[in-house]
Symmetry: C2
Subunit: 220 residues, 2 copies
Amino acid sequence: MNTDNFNTDFTPLTVEPNRIYDYSFETILEEYGPHDYNDDEWSIIRRIVHASADFELGKSVILHPDAIRAGVESIRAGRPVIADVQMIQSGSGRKRFQKHGGDLFCHIADEDVSKMAKEHNTTRAIISMQKAARLHEGGIYAIGNAPTALLELIRLIREGIAKPDLIIGMPVGFVSAAESKEELAKVTEVPFITNVGRKGGSTVTVAALNAISILADRQD
Amino acid sequence: MNTDNFNTDFTPLTVEPNRIYDYSFETILEEYGPHDYNDDEWSIIRRIVHASADFELGKSVILHPDAIRAGVESIRAGRPVIADVQMIQSGSGRKRFQKHGGDLFCHIADEDVSKMAKEHNTTRAIISMQKAARLHEGGIYAIGNAPTALLELIRLIREGIAKPDLIIGMPVGFVSAAESKEELAKVTEVPFITNVGRKGGSTVTVAALNAISILADRQD
């Protein structure tokens, strides 16, 4: 690659990733206002705000009191992480879980999932959750797109078929998204991270997942 | 895969993707209120709102008057689409561009990009834009994450090194995101889709890109 056209005019603030994070997190703390979160909890919330630039969304988050401990232990034990869509898989990346002996899976584009969804006239999202529950033991489910995936996962838990360590459930949208998250907030068997309302999506789900994985990396 | 645990209780509304879109788009039209967009323009706006459930974000969008024509022609001509991050590549998918003879590229994880960014103490996002400008002729640049990528692309255009057909520039965040989009809105050489403020991100960038590709698929 030719390097004639390099630009060296950017300020350090613009090109040093750690300083960008620090500055962003300071701004978020300032503008969010007073809160009762402990440091670990706040590290989740501020990353969700960072990924969305949306304080309303940040303030709509519900953190189950056992969510962080469960998520950190799951990653450290090398248990699987299951994403509903590939955007989450590529946004979070497999490496951060592989280094603990785990991995990040997404079954929505699997050929057998697609085939079975057609046969049964249902969504690939639903079938992909059924496949994940059969294939993987425990783990973290990160659902940011498909309300049907989240509703199906909740059903599988209630029927004793799935037993995740943690659910990060933040699907976005106008059909069933808010309702699926209301259902998640009623789940007693599994800790969760979710939010109230229509907002959510893959980027904020990745933000929450990455915040948990950063806590799992910490030496303590 | 065993199929013991199929659920057939979901209502048709929940599992038929086309009906979910129709219902969502009706709701968005209703709640958005009066607007002056033509049908093609509205198909971009409503998809951005659909992906974010955020009307404020939807109303902050700036559509260059030539953006849709330029994007549709670019895709139909099989020209490249370049994403700043892999979330956009996996969220939009390569197939929708390959069927027109094009493809969707993302250079941020390329080995030479990573090496050169370290050597020059700059971001991979900046180097990846330089690589894209050298490697590809024209095309659509879809930037949803890195303000530095967008600022660098604008610089490359001003210096006559890059000449995209269309820029979809909607990075999110607290450092340089809003500023980079203000710069984009001043660009006269290339049509653009952008928005005002800190909000944005990969999911809404994918939404705008997919809306353009749906228009490119249309027979007219």
